[in-house]
């Protein structure tokens, strides 16, 4: 399993909110595909999937606040 972790977005930016999941649990995703969109106040940020596999679990839903380093989802590699 590969963790999808919120990376550093910039100096002093510690949190963002989940605005849009491009995939559902059970979907197959490829490494590098836009997996989930996050937003800070004036910027949105698309997070690529770190691995190819099945989206096994979403740990954050749309509207949830996430902090840098938080795990957003789990990908089961194939």
């Amino acid at each position: 399993m590969t963790k999808v972790v919120l990376p550093e977005l910039g100096e002093g930016i510690v949190k963002a909110s989940v605005t849009y999941w491009n995939f559902e649990v059970g979907d197959e995703v490829k490494e590098g595909e836009d997996l989930v969109e996050l937003a800070t106040d004036k910027a949105t940020f698309n997070m690529p999937s770190p691995a190819s596999g099945i989206l096994k679990e979403k740990l954050k839903e749309e509207g949830d606040e996430v902090h840098v380093g938080d795990t957003l989802a789990m990908i089961e590699e194939q």
């Binding site: 910039g10 849009y20 590098g32 800070t40 004036k42 910027a43 949105t44 698309n46």
Partner: protein, 250 residues
């Protein structure tokens, strides 16, 4: 929401103007002037340019344009930000789009200079805050050309002159490549802002023509000034010539 304090004290190191080999390559930028175009056209254009940069190793692109009367709603928009019905908007001939940029609601229209920097932050600095700050810096320096003291407002993104907002910013990032951007009111008909709560704020908007008390024409000289400020803040090297793409500039 931002913590206002950090904005006041935030003074990042500029991108060094290094003209040696790789650094120079990383700072190459193409300028594309679309003129007055529909929002949807400029939007598709940005996305195609972004793909070219992402997969084709194209240099950064700075897209300049103006839009006809348009309302756009960013990801943070609240229903109450639009003060009239979508039907009424249509009757007034104002286009209305929901888009994936950050921020809330805004208005675009003739007389407003819009810049969409499609920049690969992998080659500049992977820092969203730095990027937003730099866009503000570009606008502030641009307005300095008119001997105006424009400034940031603690806790908010955008540029203000006294207590009025003159420029708005909202961006989106894919693979650390930016799109969407900034809008500066030069000769904008400010009446249109009464249709919305700009950026969700109870804010009074202004324009350069309102402040200067004369009409401001968006001509090439003015656009070149803005490009010049982009060049300085992002240490860009301007590349001449067309982008390697089938995209027409219409």
């Amino acid at each position: 929401m931002n913590n206002g304090k950090c904005f006041v004290e935030y003074s990042p190191k500029p991108i060094p103007l290094d003209t040696s080999g790789k650094a120079k390559e990383n700072n190459l930028c193409r300028i594309v002037d679309l003129g007055l175009v529909d929002y949807s056209y400029a939007y598709e254009f940005q996305k195609q340019v972004l793909d070219k940069i992402r997969y084709g190793n194209e240099p950064h692109a700075l897209i300049l344009c103006e839009h006809p009367h348009t309302i756009t709603q960013g990801r943070m928009t609240k229903e109450s930000d639009l003060l009239i019905s979508p039907l009424k908007l249509k009757q007034l001939g104002v286009s209305n789009y929901s888009v994936e940029r950050g921020g809330r609601i805004t208005y675009h229209g003739p007389g407003q200079l819009v810049a969409y920097p499609v920049f690969d932050l992998n080659k500049l600095k992977k820092d969203l805050k730095f990027f937003l700050w730099s866009l503000e810096e570009v606008i502030i320096n641009f307005l300095n050309n008119f001997n105006l003291e424009a400034e940031r407002k603690p806790g908010y993104t955008g540029v203000w002159i006294e207590d009025r907002k003159i420029a708005s910013i909202g961006i989106a990032v894919k693979k650390w490549i930016t799109f969407h951007g900034l809008a500066i009111n030069l000769n904008t008909d400010l009446e249109y802002f009464s249709l919305i709560k700009p950026c969700g704020l109870d804010v009074r908007m202004t324009s350069l023509s309102q402040i200067m008390g004369r009409e401001i024409v968006i001509d090439n000289r003015l656009k070149e000034r803005l490009v010049e400020e982009f060049k300085k803040v992002f240490a860009l090297e301007i590349v001449e010539g067309q982008m390697n793409t089938q995209l027409s500039e219409r």
